[in-house]
Symmetry: D3
Subunit: 171 residues, 6 copies
């Protein structure tokens, strides 16, 4: 049985993350979404909020669960018995950073296998950080995040809902 | 009639920006330089200062005007009636970020056309952030920014003017 | 009045090219699609075929016409009175090559303005060369090229049409 | 049960390929190394030779087998019942090409999952094409390919074995 | 006689830096490691600590010395009489930033020659910033930094030494 | 005494190459321009022509000489007693290929030091291959290659000289 982790900040979880989770959960027997509690980086949502939003987003997937961690990712993988670490690959990824982390992780834990899943076309350019910038300025995010995440972003940034006239405008 | 916006922080405006403005203003009927009032990013100059420096730099261009904005860029474009958004393209651009923003903007405003103008060779490697680092350490910027911007940078960082012996050294 | 050229091999024209043509034709007064007769590169279709397929693809666009050329692109631009050269920008572009050509063209013709239009998301990864590889192996290209181009590709590579069961499978 | 294919030219198979095969075979239940019979590309070894060298290289891996194919890769995957396509990812990969192929394949076969395995540090910069250039000029390849492949390369390019004095020089 | 500088933050010095120092010191007559006292960037170690750690790391190299500076790097080069500035090149370098700095430095000091030395394979993906992240979470860094630097990192982040069972795990 | 080689095809030598040769010759005691006789790649000029054009271009540089070779570059370096291999670095370099070759060369000859010199701004986008394309179509190359090389290119492609009206047009 192959257990995989999918680590990240998930601040908040997007349809891009969910796309990768679906793919990985169809390939591996068990998938653990690891929500990293990074004290160094300024985050919008608390660890509890990020975990809860992720749980709600993947509730329909039987072999997936969400868990927070605060150690090295490779130590988290060992603790939960994962043999595989999953990363989502987008054309606008920071490949240099990805490779640095991958090589560092191989050094720290040679037995943990890294596999990258390719994001779908519609999520190739979706990043949490850009999404938060748009949310802050009142942009509509309905196709980029699940409804409960859109609501949480609005609650954080702007009280009124996305005006009906703009819904579904894109694509 | 085609109206275009050229959005940015312009902190401060450089000869690289002015190069793009000249190009775009020769192609489109009207060009609006949009100075973004970003509360999130630490800027050197206030919005008023950035607008004023930009206005002085483009005063000789008939069909160009400067305006600040604090909304989503696509909403600013709509408000001023622009059909086109101009971006300057440099070899040392952060292409990943450019594409992420472009695709996000297309999603938010499918009718706004993005066009990228190619920076001249001598400005291919000129960025506002690097320029500020150099200014702070007393480097001479005379060929990189207009005189009034160089003066403003000196006023912010160092009292004395660039020593005559070093002027025109480069190239 | 701004006249623009959009140069390329168009071997054959794809929906990605047509997307850029539509965008450029909405911004500029007149657009000339320049089909380059490259004797050096091995092409699938003759210049005449490439011109004819392009003409059919853009017949509905009033201010666009197709013309072949065999000189330097900057000389072609001068001959047809264009002030602007349009290039399509895709995330999977060969940026290094794009910049080399752009800087060379600026050197050869400083007055010709280069502008890049951003491909739509669904065409960000569509290239003529990959398309031809797929066509050769019998893959379905209905959403990537106009019907008359798909027919021409089938005529070149494989006699039978794309099986109905596979049509529309993707996306 | 998850069946995966690992497609390529394998002209010839290198330790870099074998590294990816080992990783993938430890994650998936069955792995089929697909040797592509590309009539378009000039290859050094025949399909039969490439298959045989690959078979010898992976003989010790129980759940791996080698098979040649001449169709679209996605059709090969379907034929052998694979749900996953494996690609090796190196820092010196042609990412643009990788993404183009990945998006094309998703369009042609939405159900086939692409996963990328990360090459080990020592194989991050090893490519078959560079290897052949070096072999042709008499360079020692003992740490880059299995012995039987090194012998085949010598047989093709140069009669004498790698001089003992140079063996093991590197690293 | 050719004098070279090798400027950087060295926060802290790593085996990757030392690799470049050794290479450069074998090529040039004299090498000055310039420790930049950057007031803008948040650093882990003080300038004194960074200088001392670097000095200890290169004590065995006759023609190398360490010196801190707080001016423009090109002014530091002039002050110490250097004709050459050395940079380490890694595949995961931020090339855009490197080129921006290089072109800016050429503008400011046309006579100072920039040469890039290629990092060894095992240091191609080693960065000070990633190293600090790992150190903070208790990861073992014994092969990435000299012992006295590892001790300093542990002193800053975690009291206990790296557990024996994990030493030498990687590679 | 440090001996360096600067290997390449030099088909033909450009001002970009000469720029790197000048830089390298000011840093190292002796520089050998290695003209590679590549039987695999289609070249415009014969090895003799390429050597002669390079010799004429660097005749004024005392510590530089030109020599052809047909072996592995690392073997050529050894034969001429070079400790250093010089490469020119341009923003539009194929970095992936550069790193692959560098790592391969380090494996084959660990003692040969690779150093990269940074091309001047005006040569950052100049490549021999693009230059030949332009020459073939009659473009003016006077600022990109020495006069004797421009004459050789004209002799190969077009009989008449560059029209006076176009000389010196660019920058």
């Amino acid at each position: 049985m192959t257990v995989a982790i999918y680590p990240g900040s998930f601040d908040p979880i997007t349809h891009g993350h969910i796309d990768i989770i679906k793919r990985a959960s169809s390939i591996f027997d068990e998938l653990i979404v690891g929500v990293y509690d990074r004290p160094e980086k300024r985050l919008l949502f608390s660890t509890e909020e990020r975990v809860r939003m992720a749980q709600q987003a993947i509730a329909h997937l039987k072999n997936v669960r969400v868990q927070s961690y605060s150690s090295l990712t490779v130590d988290f993988a060992k603790k939960v018995g994962a043999q595989v670490m999953v990363r989502g690959l987008r054309m606008s990824s920071d490949f240099e950073r990805e490779f640095e982390m991958a090589m560092m992780n191989k050094k720290l834990a040679p037995d943990l296998e890294l596999v990258c899943c390719m994001a779908s076309l519609q999520y190739q350019f979706l990043s949490s950080s850009l999404l938060k910038e748009v949310a802050q300025l009142g942009g509509c995010l309905e196709e980029m995040v699940p409804d409960h995440v859109a609501a949480a972003l609005r609650g954080r940034f702007a009280p009124e809902a996305c005006p009906p006239s703009r819904k579904g405008v894109s694509r």
